[in-house]
Amino acid sequence: MLSNITIGQYYPGSSPVHKLDPRTKILITVLYIVMLFAAAEVIGLLPGIIFFILSYIISGVPLKMIFRSLKPIIPLIVFTAVLNLFFVGNDVIFEFWIIKITGEGLRFSIFMIVRIIALIAGTSLLTYTTTPIMLTDGLESLLSPLKKLKFPVHELSMMMTIALRFIPTLIEETSKIMSAQKARGADLESGGLLKRAKALIPILIPLFVSAFRRAEELALAMESRCYHGGEGRTRLRELHFKLRDIISLLITALFLASVFVLNSL
């Protein structure tokens, strides 16, 4: 159980969705995105939506968490809706002054909104049910065939792990530095944009200096612990595909197929 990790937006739980291999979940998410983009009409989105609702119910993630992930994209949703509503199609169903709304525009607008919402809600379900470290491991494993093409898969995943490890440390450090500069009378809250940007210098410079110092010390510590790249490394955390992973992938594939069936109707 990794229930205390607060980095990212992991929502601790022990549902079947949580228990799936991270590679399975990443693959399912990719298939899910394909599902949404393959849909040609509103009806084609139905399998994706049903699939999402089922996964969501099984995952046990509260509804408010899903809404929370949608909040930042509300402006984008509104913008897309308005754009499509007014500027698409010819079959006018409502007209006032220079504004005209067409039937096609209305349909397309709804189609786009549903698609965006389903996309964001679905992908956030991945991060709600998978810890960042599992995501990293999953990605490293999925990308490992690229190693043959000299793509630095291990290095990338090591970088991600270290970044995840140091995010809380650096957040804490930022707040400490801010307090220290405020204690010296730094004014971080008032003034125009330029003044505020200037006020950040006393925060950012110490933060960078400290990040470099940390990086240097960490490199030394890693070397002392026999780190010499990804070659010959074993892993404490091994990933194993289980029956449930295969079944989940098959179900997802069925949903995807149904999209194509609906499209051809």
Partner: protein, 281 residues
């Protein structure tokens, strides 16, 4: 006694141009299974010396041997670092992974230890530092002392012969320092791991079998804690502390209440005073 670390007439400078030596012609042998404290103030060269013990730094002149392997030998680098593990000062800057058990596994993973054995090693290492109940925690949820214990577990998991602690207690509160000291003493006694403990706290050095005092790149004192701490004048002159009771005994020299020179602990001191007072009655 078998020697694990042998520094023979080593010299070191950071800057090729100025050739300002951190130390020159320094020799030190560390015996297997011993607990050696290296005491000195900042800039005395003690940390630079420590970094020679696992081939992070290499001497500009002279040789350092770890288990008879020359630290200049590139091919032996991994083996040397596996034999002599190093714990650093800042607990935040040496933990690599986001979860305690993953971090403890880091070194053996690098060494290619098979998965089944990894699991055992991680469990045992966490047990050895009494952190087995924290295996699934994130590093930022731990106190300073706990983080340093995790760092020590990360070294133990390599199954080293020796641990070098490079001012590993300098940033900890008294509780954290006590925790680390207890763990290190236990590792030394129960698992026979050689400990090199670099510090500027004399209370900590008093726990060792042997205290080496460094000043401006030279070894000025080398002996048992009792032998070293009775040299009150030498220690004070290079800006180091002595235990308060040792200082008391020093101040009382030449008075009618002359205490033994080599007292280190409060109870030793109280016993000596009680005995003397008894005699005076």
């Amino acid at each position: 006694m078998e020697t694990i670390i042998n520094a023979e007439n080593i010299s070191y400078f950071y800057d090729e141009e100025t050739k300002k030596y951190v130390f020159k012609d320094l020799s030190l042998k560390v015996e297997k299974g011993s607990f050696v404290a290296v005491l000195g103030h900042n800039g005395s060269g003690k940390s630079t010396l420590a970094k020679h013990f696992n081939a992070i730094l290499q001497p500009t002149e002279g040789k350092v041997y770890v288990n008879s392997m020359d630290t200049l030998d590139e091919d032996k680098l991994l083996e040397i670092r596996k034999d002599v593990g190093m714990v650093f000062q800042n607990p935040d800057n040496q933990i690599v992974a986001t979860i305690v058990e993953d971090d403890v596994a880091f070194a053996p993973e690098n060494l290619g230890v098979p998965h089944d054995e990894l699991v055992i090693r991680v469990r045992d290492a966490l047990k050895a530092v009494s952190m087995e109940n924290f295996s699934d925690k994130a590093p930022h949820q731990l106190s300073g002392g706990q983080k340093q214990r995790v760092a020590i577990a990360g070294i133990i998991a390599m199954q080293p012969d020796c641990i070098v602690l490079d001012e590993a207690t300098a940033m900890l509160d008294p509780k954290g320092r006590r925790e680390v000291m207890e763990v290190v003493r236990r590792l030394n006694r129960e698992m026979g791991i050689t400990v090199v403990f670099i510090t500027h706290y004399m209370e900590e050095a008093a726990n060792a079998d042997r205290v080496v005092v460094m000043d401006s790149g030279k070894i000025v004192l080398d002996g048992s804690p009792k032998e070293v701490f009775t040299q009150v004048e030498t220690l004070k002159s290079i800006g180091l502390d002595v235990p308060q009771v040792t200082y008391l005994s020093y101040l009382l020299r030449g008075t009618k209440l002359e205490l033994p020179k080599d007292i280190l602990t409060a109870s030793e001191c109280a016993d000596a005073i009680l005995k003397l007072l008894e005699e005076k009655k």
